[in-house]
Symmetry: C5
Subunit: 89 residues, 5 copies
């Protein structure tokens, strides 16, 4: 997983039917996090708002761990960080 900050969101009216009802948040990985150069669009599994520091799961973990095994989802916000040790941002 990586830690990042929710910095925005996107809306897609026309989309895959398995995505209905989801919110798509833009997450900026913390500097120093394993990030492949940039931002990720993640579904929100925990009610995160813009500005919050979140834990993001990537890959098959996002859809299977969030009870959306059949949705085309490869990233999900799965926690909101409230304490940390050694996290550089």
């Amino acid at each position: 997983m990586i830690v990042g900050k929710v910095v925005g969101s996107v809306v897609a009216t026309r989309k895959n039917a398995n995505l209905l009802g989801n919110k798509f948040m833009i997450v900026e990985p913390f500097k120093g996090m394993n990030s492949q150069n940039g931002r990720i669009v993640a579904i929100d599994n925990v009610g995160a708002g813009i500005g919050e520091i979140v834990l993001v799961a990537l890959g098959s973990a996002a859809r299977i761990g969030c009870d959306m095994a059949n949705a085309p989802v490869d990233a999900a916000i799965v926690g909101i960080i409230d304490h940390s040790i050694g996290l550089d941002g």
Copy 2:
């Protein structure tokens, strides 16, 4: 998922039988998106045209979430973006 712009397409007459009937679009990830240095070829699950800004799912999410569990597909356009907050491009 990432957000990108559809910039082209490719045609492969000779291909894996499980890919028949698909369109292969070239997507340029938005600057600042998690992109591993470049463009992706994605199947089109929502009728996206060249120039449109789209949501792309990567990995097993692409084939399983688009009802193509047995096709060699690792990227799919799963939404067309019509509104956004905080999306840099």
Copy 3:
């Protein structure tokens, strides 16, 4: 998926039994393709030769989409490109 050019091949006499009978081609991703810095070794699912421009599926899509669900294969050539729009190489 990504688009690349077949630039070589490797032979491994001693290998995992589930790989028997496969050809292992070296594919150079096109410049500007999502490539994580370099070449990939992919099995050949469509009879591609050196010098051909091909479509490569990565990850679980490669083995499941090519009817090799139990083989240690993470990349497969699944199409030979004959037309394209907007493909930089």
Copy 4:
């Protein structure tokens, strides 16, 4: 897998229910390790503490290999390194 050093941890009170009971450690990959630019948040499967050198499994291996197939986990500390040959750090 990669080798890294445990450098911190994060706590998320509000999180996906399938993550309850886990510890989330921040792992800094060793220089020269396959790291996509940075740190990873991994669950701790072996009782690793801050400062220890660990083996981290990524992707579906993390959740399936740690008996958490339904949790949104994409990285797990699966071993504590006590000897090595040729490991640069």
Copy 5:
């Protein structure tokens, strides 16, 4: 898959039970190979020794293709290269 050279190994006495009995080799990807910046720790499925040039499978292919579907393994040496065309190292 990628091609690399076995350059070392690690030992973890304390580890996930599903990893028992495996050897963990450090593989240095060949220059020009798709490598995300560095070395990988892979289990050895074919009896590779330090200095040998090997084929490495990544992701779920490593555990499923090596009959270790339930182990936290994301990389495996699955072949020893004895001939090649167009392989730069």
